[in-house]
């Protein structure tokens, strides 16, 4: 009963937020405060609601009892987990937004933004809760369209409009695949209710199962940003306002992962091990390609978007391993891999949200997204710098921050393959682990470059020179996530049992995948005493701090300050700093087959020896766009051009076409429909 009120309350708060945004449309400040605070209140209720479902019973609520189809809300432990992830993100991002939208005051329509923001969150919640394919598709479409409007919020920029176009086209191609998959289910079950889909999963022929799985994987994979369906993501996420990109990258792409889990585990019972291999391999490819493009990207929001592709890849590696284990009838191992995936999903929504908000803050105070034009911000934005550093350390999987725990779990679940009899599995999962290791190292490379170029040394432009610390609500939003990143890193002891409860609810284990010892030692009983304890690790780190501190500060004298060494020349200017492109150059040379870098140099001389100006332009090629999408687009355009021949524009011709069709149809009917 309490759950009823909680759910109505959370939906109500988002609706209030949306409506009040329209009502107070004229007053920018008032509108944004009411609307975003209402959203964060909704998030708090969502948090309580999801915990009550995780620790209690599933929640079921029918809107139109007795009618067909029955529309309703269905929340089990899996959906509750995703509502939890959404609520945590929405809470932090909403607080951040109250400060961030000041940027748009007087320039843009705030009421419109706040309205879309609230409806967007509500549509994500509905996607998670839908009990019926029709209702799901309505919510899914609502989510896609609203997020499209949010992406094109700054529609006066041409690249934003282009981003919006690519996004809306790709997302609808994805939806097309999803609809086909649902139709296959409905063909067997005879109804659109998810409950009957679940029942149909066991009666479907293997061939139909395969097809339904593949279509769902492509459809939801497009939304999740799996390579090669990812091309919209690096356009759409950077184009949206900072707070919205935090939600899109942190949460929206996770709704696709939710449905993938729902369909492959709940409906289809992870039947075939080759499904798992496909998910694992696509995840591995997404992880490595995502981070490779992120490393060389100078636009920080685009870089974060590419890194989202990478992290979705890591989540899919866990998911794929889980499917392989379940298909080989090892439910406990499957639960461990699933927990790794869910843990990384939670972590990613936290640190990616933090970093997108951080990028928003940098944009807010410097008005540039280009890493090459920043620098020295650590002295101008000291608090943001620390918060973003925590995000950077988490995403680079540095102990004892959150990313480390989930990457460690992912490695361990890949290592559990030695429990399988299949040699193929051992080889594939080892290769995947090697690629994951490379991905992790490149992620550290990428985010080290990001932090170093943006915050350290001297500012590289006027904008960076005059940057100021952002306002308190923005810092508070980021601070909440930074705190959470640390807690998820040092207190996995409290997170893992919850995730275990969720994973075991649909994998069917007893929920004892991990055992816990003193100091929060975590061990995996099904393998030979592999253990970890990040709280313990943290304590060691803190105590050991004393040693270098004593050496450094005993008998402390002055620290003379002098110029940076420049081989005896006074060269302490930003022009002499290492640039971002130079920093990532080794990777670009190493993977030149992928990047196909192109560069242009233009030198003009004022005399024979004196250079007057020097222009340098370099760029890399987007392989998938060039080799996969552009040929398809060209082909479609070509067909359309040829089809234009029949579009004469003359009414007689069209009447002729109609007559011709009618004659054919008559003949069809007369011949008895055969």
């Amino acid at each position: 009963m309490l759950d009823n009120y909680l759910f109505l309350g959370l939906a109500g708060f988002y609706l209030v937020g949306a409506v009040s945004a329209l009502v107070f449309n004229k007053k920018d400040a008032l509108c944004s405060y009411i609307s975003f605070l209402s959203a964060s209140a909704g998030a708090l209720l969502g948090f309580v609601f999801s915990l009550s479902v995780i620790f209690g019973d599933s929640f079921h609520f029918i809107l139109n009892e007795g009618q067909i189809p029955e529309f309703g809300i269905f929340v089990d432990k899996l959906s509750a987990f995703f509502i939890l992830v959404i609520s945590i993100s929405v809470f932090a991002v909403s607080i951040f937004s109250t400060g961030y939208v000041k940027e748009y005051f007087g320039k843009k329509n705030i009421g419109y933004l706040c309205f879309l923001y609230n409806i967007f969150i509500l549509s994500m919640i509905l996607v998670i809760c839908a009990n019926n394919a029709i209702m799901f598709l309505i919510a899914w479409e609502l989510m896609s369209v609203i997020s499209f409007f949010l992406v094109v919020y700054e529609h006066e920029k041409i690249e934003t409009r282009k981003a919006g176009f690519i996004y809306i086209v790709m997302t609808h191609i994805g939806t097309g695949f999803i609809i086909i998959s649902f139709l296959i289910f409905a063909g067997t079950s005879g109804s659109f209710s998810f409950e009957t889909f679940h029942a149909a999963g066991s009666t479907m022929t293997p061939f139909l199962k395969d097809i339904a799985f593949l279509f769902a994987f492509i459809g939801f994979g497009t939304k999740a940003g799996i390579v090669p369906f990812h091309i919209w993501l690096p356009y759409a996420h950077p184009a949206a306002p900072g707070n919205v990109s935090a939600l899109m990258s942190g949460v929206m792409i996770k709704t696709a992962i939710f449905m993938l889990i729902r369909i492959s585990f709940d409906f289809l019972g992870a039947g075939q091990s080759w499904w798992g291999y496909i998910v694992l391999m696509m995840g591995t490819i997404s992880a490595i390609l995502g981070i490779l493009y992120a490393v060389v990207e100078p636009d920080m929001k685009r870089m974060l978007a590419f890194s989202s592709i990478e992290n979705v890849g890591i989540i899919l590696i866990g998911l794929g391993a889980s499917m392989i284990f379940l298909a080989s009838d090892k439910p406990i191992l499957s639960a461990i891999a699933m927990i790794a995936a869910l843990y990384h999903l939670l972590n990613h929504s936290v640190f990616k949200g933090l970093l997108f908000m951080g990028a928003g803050s940098i944009l807010y105070s410097t008005h540039t997204k280009n890493i090459e034009k920043l620098g020295g911000l650590i002295k101008r934005m000291p608090v943001s710098a620390i918060l973003i550093l925590i995000g950077v350390l988490s995403i680079s999987a540095m102990p004892p921050f959150s990313g480390f725990v989930s990457e460690w779990l992912t490695f361990q679940s890949l290592l559990l393959t030695f429990n399988l009899d299949s040699n193929f599995a051992i080889i594939i999962l080892s290769i995947s682990a090697a690629v994951l290791a490379l991905t992790g190292a490149l992620a550290a490379y990428c985010f080290l470059k990001f932090f170093g170029m943006v915050f350290l040394a001297l500012p590289r432009s006027e904008n960076a020179q005059h940057a100021k610390e952002v306002n308190i609500p923005m810092l508070a939003g980021m601070g909440f996530f930074a705190l959470l990143s640390i807690m998820l890193g040092i207190l996995p002891v409290f997170v893992l049992p919850v995730l275990d409860r969720i994973a075991s609810s649909f994998i069917g284990t007893a929920g004892q995948s991990f055992s816990f010892g003193t100091f929060g030692t975590i061990s995996i009983p099904s393998s030979g005493g592999i253990s970890i304890s990040t709280p313990g690790l943290l304590a060691i780190l803190l105590i050991l701090m004393l040693i270098p501190a004593i050496i450094l500060f005993i008998n402390k004298r002055s620290m003379p300050v002098y110029e940076t060494w420049g081989c005896g020349q006074p060269v302490s200017t930003a022009r002499n700093e290492y640039s971002a492109i130079a920093f990532s150059k080794p990777v670009q040379v190493w993977f030149k087959g992928l990047y196909r870098p192109a560069r242009e140099m233009e030198v003009t001389y004022s005399s024979r020896y004196l250079k007057e100006s020097f222009k340098f332009k370099s760029g890399i090629e987007q392989v998938f766009e060039k080799n996969l999408y552009i040929p398809v687009v060209d082909f479609v355009m070509d067909i359309s051009r040829k089809a234009k021949v029949i579009q004469t524009g003359s009414i007689h011709a069209y009447l002729g076409y109609i007559f011709g069709i009618l004659v054919i149809l008559f003949m069809f009917v007369i011949s008895g429909g055969s």
Partner: protein, 314 residues
């Protein structure tokens, strides 16, 4: 327990400069020169600790915090790696993967500090260091997999115990292949020829030295000591994963412990000599040839996994 912890820290800190001095001495022997005494690294560190640190006027707190964080991360890894005894008081706190990530944490902060002074040298060093780390990582993870597949755990104490319990049977093809792969990785991780030259200050070739160019005095002492400890720990990993024989186990008497300590030191010195041989017999490779060297390591570790499958009769 506390005593054992303190002793392990003490041992690591004291042995690390000795190992560096020893390798230098062996190298000078092969180069037919006298070279500095074995104790020279201690004198250098003491001298540096007495001196002031000159810092650049561009730097932020990152520059001051980085040596401490890097040093502590390396030292913490030292508490997870079995040195002369398999049972570590804090061995439960992390496994082999945690050790690698602690080294990564140390590297991360050193490279971050290299960008802080705004010098081109620093950026160059940081970029190359992270590049080599990325090259090393896949081979490293595959060799860990090869070891862990064999033993069934990534817990270092457990690996040492199991392998030493196997006796000579542990010398299987996959173990040897994984050892060679990890040896190449150890060259990269300790910054030795042909990957990096620890003795150079030539801007075109230096990697680690370029990163720490702005450090001086006491801060430099911490950075140098950290690098020496990391070298010792990587050698200890090699020794105690692949040749853990002679390592003491829980409840060993004092004489057994002393013996184990001696055996450990001999193992480390033997690895040090082989490192010195590799260093004197090769020239430094060009940066963009390094992917070739490390893909050899990657292939070896992959072969280790394949041969594991074959030997175990899959």
């Amino acid at each position: 327990m506390i005593l054992q912890l303190v002793f392990q820290i003490f041992l690591i800190i004291v042995l690390a400069p000795l190992l560096s001095g020893f390798i230098k001495k062996v190298k000078s022997f092969f180069q037919i020169r006298k070279g500095p005494g074995i104790l020279q690294p201690y004198y250098d560190l003491l001298k540096l600790i007495k001196k002031d640190s000159v810092v650049s006027n561009n730097v932020s707190w990152i520059f001051h915090a980085a040596p401490i964080i890097s040093f502590v991360a390396v030292l913490a890894a030292g508490l997870l790696i079995p040195v002369y005894i398999t049972q570590l008081p804090l061995g439960f706190a992390g496994d082999l993967i945690a050790v690698i990530y602690l080294f990564a944490l140390a590297r991360f902060f050193t490279a971050l500090a290299s960008l802080d002074a705004g010098s081109s040298f620093g950026g160059m060093g940081g970029s190359r260091e992270m590049f080599i780390a990325a090259l090393v990582e896949p081979a490293l993870m595959l060799s860990i997999f090869a070891v862990a597949l064999n033993v069934g755990s990534t817990n270092l104490g457990f690996i040492s115990r199991t392998v030493s319990g196997m006796g000579i049977d542990a010398m299987s093809p996959y173990q040897i292949l994984a050892f060679v792969a990890l040896f190449i990785i150890a060259i990269a991780e300790t910054g030795r020829i042909p990957i990096d030259n620890p003795a150079t200050h030539l801007e075109l070739t230096m990697i680690h030295e370029a990163m720490i160019l702005e450090y001086s005095g006491r801060q430099l002492a911490i950075v140098e000591l950290g690098a020496m400890i990391k070298q010792l720990l990587i050698f200890s990993l090699l020794a105690n994963i692949f040749f853990p024989w002679g390592i003491a186990s829980q409840g060993a008497g004092v004489s057994a412990l002393v013996l184990a300590l001696l055996v450990y030191m001999i193992k480390i010195l033997v690895i040090g000599i082989s490192m010195a041989v590799v260093e004197t017999s090769t020239a430094k490779w060009r940066l963009f040839r390094l992917p070739e060297l490390l893909s050899i390591s990657l292939m070896l570790s992959f072969l280790a996994i394949v041969s594991f499958i074959i030997v175990k009769g899959g």
